[in-house]
């Protein structure tokens, strides 16, 4: 991992997993940190929210703003994970974070708590389930 990573090829859009190998989204963009007197360095991986809309295009940003009624803060639903939290880089990237603590997972948690788990059978074991 030390001799250079092709950020665009290996990191951008790659599937990210947390400490427990659960999917936490995709690397939607990367941020450089500018430091006084030192060269800039890749500091954070960003997931979800407006960041992703912007990458798709202006039309998506507008659509998203329309959908949220213009009330969305710029970093709402965006997870910022320090690059240093990267634990392994292969077909997927494992980050030393916990899914439940990420802002981009708020929708998942909200749905699970307020909708899915109120329907009977959501937590029951599936027949022949393997995973």
């Amino acid at each position: 991992m030390t001799d250079g990573i092709d950020l665009r090829h290996d990191v951008l859009d790659a599937l990210l997993m947390d400490r427990n190998r659960e999917n936490i989204g995709r690397c939607d963009t990367l941020m450089l940190e500018l430091r006084d007197g030192k060269p800039p360095r890749v500091a954070t991986l960003l997931i979800g929210g407006q960041v992703r809309d912007e990458r798709i295009g202006k039309w998506m940003t507008h659509l998203s703003r329309l959908f949220h009624g213009g009330k969305r803060a710029a970093d709402e639903g965006v997870s910022r994970i320090p690059f240093a939290a990267m634990r392994s880089l292969g077909e997927t990237i494992r980050m030393d974070v916990v899914r439940d603590e990420l802002p981009s997972e708020h929708v998942e948690q909200w749905l699970a708590k307020h909708v899915i788990c109120r329907i009977p059978g959501a937590q029951g074991k599936k027949e022949q389930g393997k995973k």
Binding site: R26, G57, I116, G121, A122, K126, G129, K131
Partner: protein, 405 residues
Amino acid sequence: MKKWAEVALGVVTSIGGFLEVGSIATSIQGGAQFGFQLAWAVAIGTVCLAILMEMTGRLAAVSGRSYVDLLREHMGVRFFIIPLVAVMIPSFLVLISEIGGVAIGLQIATGIAFQWWAIPIALVGWFLLWRGSFKMVEQGTAVLGLVSVVFLVGAIKLHPQWNAVGESLLPSAPSHDKVKYWYIAVSILGASISPYLYLFYSAGALEDGWSLTHLGVNRVTAGLGNVFGGGLSLMVLVCAAMVFLPRQIGVDAYEQIALVLATPLGRAGFALFLISLCITCFGATLEIALSGAYLLAQGLGWPWSENMKPANDARFATTYSILILLAAVPIAVGMDPLKLTNISMVLSAASLPVTVTPLLVLMNDRQVMTTHANGWLGNIALVLISLMSLVLFFVAAPLYVLGGG
């Protein structure tokens, strides 16, 4: 021995999964208006689907990741939004049509108008997705779907000139109603090569835990399964050609379509047609709802699996729930299922380029495919399918306006 059971099951799944509202409706329209002449469209559609399924299955078995997953990663989110929308919209329309297919089958069987059936069908479907595992959804509907072998029996009993059927496997130009002919040809292709089919297949390979050892199973399942499945679709066309064409019966409603097996097999044929229609459309309903959820979840990196409890993949479960329930609404308010089927098949055909062409890149990426990348034969096939999909993209809308509706 276990491998053989797996192969047999895979083949059955492909056969059972092939026939659905689109292939039944388009094959019957084709047969009723042009006899055996459009058999080639069924054949080409079948071969293309077999190739695409083999490749997406191989991709999943080798890389351990689904086609959609890799599509997003390699093409980026800006590109990914195009196949996402281009597959989601036609798939949703096909989903409505499938629910419509089951509803029409139940209407003819019970006399209760199809509108009333839409919501109950969606609820039963949703319940099975909510509670069932991937294996149950995949194999349950496939094994029951084998009832559609009745079309083969029907075709044999009608004593068609088999050599004429065989000759029609080569494309030929029509002598009358040229626009209608090409319009139905495009519909048949769209019905056979639905994107949801290979996206579902590639996700299914992962749900079933495929690895390199499954490459053989994949080849046989995709190859043999689709040849048998496409064969059944061809038998539907043959039945329609023998029953409707000589009597000059045009088919513009499902009530007429339902008579296709009554001539060779009597009342039992009529009943078996309805059972086949309901089961195959219901199976496709489940598969399409899941495909939509796979597409979104894999593209955006959510947790997903039909084998997980809904509480652990909430967005995935929410997506298929919304899709299946929302799709029941147009049928419940009385939208004509057959008209909708026709539009969906044409749109489906037009959407092919955005999922077929990127496959060419992925199947040749040695980092992903290692030594199992496409050979020259596979690449030629894929280039030809891509070119055909581009043609379909450009001709679909004009043909629908001029020949369909």
